[in-house]
Symmetry: C2
Subunit: 149 residues, 2 copies
DNA sequence: CATACTAACGCAACTCAGTTGCAATAGTCA
DNA sequence: TGACTATTGCAACTGAGTTGCGTTAGTATG
């Protein structure tokens, strides 16, 4: 049980099912935010040869599991502006993303001046209580800027 | 023809239809980004008594018109992270939004330190060419924080 | 004003991510 | 080894947005 998500879930009384282990495993190994479809497909192929052998999971299960993990604050919803929900582990430092509009390649990035000060000013000026912000950068990666001729 | 959008469209050779005039009018008067549904409903009620009398427009027309206006750079797509496309006039100064998660009330806001410098640094460090960014703040407005007791 | 050309429109059917109700299955614990 | 019920699978559904196609109505021209 080296998986952080699974360990936390167990501590909170969740059952250790095969689907759950497969989904948590894929999320933990992902290098970028994943959509339900990114988990559904790989579930039976990527896990082959792993300790979790072949595994077929229904899409409803994947959606429900993702929503549960988000509600448990174990993953964060990331919005790339394309009406598809994506998630990444919640244990990393707060950061933003650089998304290639050509190939959807994603890179984590940090912003120089944190937005905390701006948020406090906005709270003073607007009487809103700010809970969070979403900041993502869109552009073209090197591969998409200079397609192999 | 005091409407800026309509004037530009005419200059570019578009026809002046009733649906087009109604949609452009609603977008121009809106105080916050609008979704297709925000335009579909009001079209026949809000315009009553206006120079454009009663008007019923099909949803396909609204979606197509919005997409055309966006392609013509007359409106900008704004993403509130809820899988619904919203649009606002493109003629205003670049800004961001403060969105109430309780009632979807929206307020335009500006950020202290522009993100241009950050974008240039990211371009150097990542070899991406950045085209744009999306930054929105989410929280609770005064009305939603202190519900009328 | 009459006519023709075709942009724009309305309608119905479709797509696609995500959701829901419910019966069947399988972890967990005694 | 059960019993209890969380979790799953399935099918049907939702809702925003899209598409194909035949019809309507701006616009230009005479
Ligand atoms: Mn990330
Ligand atoms: Mn705005
Ligand atoms: Zn790319
Ligand atoms: Zn509110």
């Amino acid at each position: 049980m080296q998986n952080k998500i699974l360990q936390t879930l167990k501590e909170r009384g969740y059952r250790m099912t095969k689907a759950r282990q497969g989904i948590a495993g894929i999320l933990s190994e992902a290098g970028a935010p994943l959509a339900a479809a990114d988990i559904l497909g790989p579930l039976d192929s990527r896990l082959r040869g792993d300790d979790i052998k072949k595994l077929r999971v229904n899409k409803t299960t994947v959606y429900r599991e993702l929503e549960m993990l988000r509600a448990e604050n174990l993953i964060l919803e990331v919005d790339f502006g394309d009406a598809i929900k994506r998630y990444e582990l919640a244990d990393s430092k707060h950061h933003h993303h650089l998304i290639c509009v050509g190939c959807t390649r994603v890179q984590d990035v940090e912003v120089d001046a944190p937005l905390a000060a701006t948020e406090r000013r906005l709270e003073r000026q607007t009487s809103f209580k700010i809970e969070r912000h979403a900041l993502e950068f869109f552009g073209l990666c090197a591969q998409c800027r200079f397609p192999r001729r």
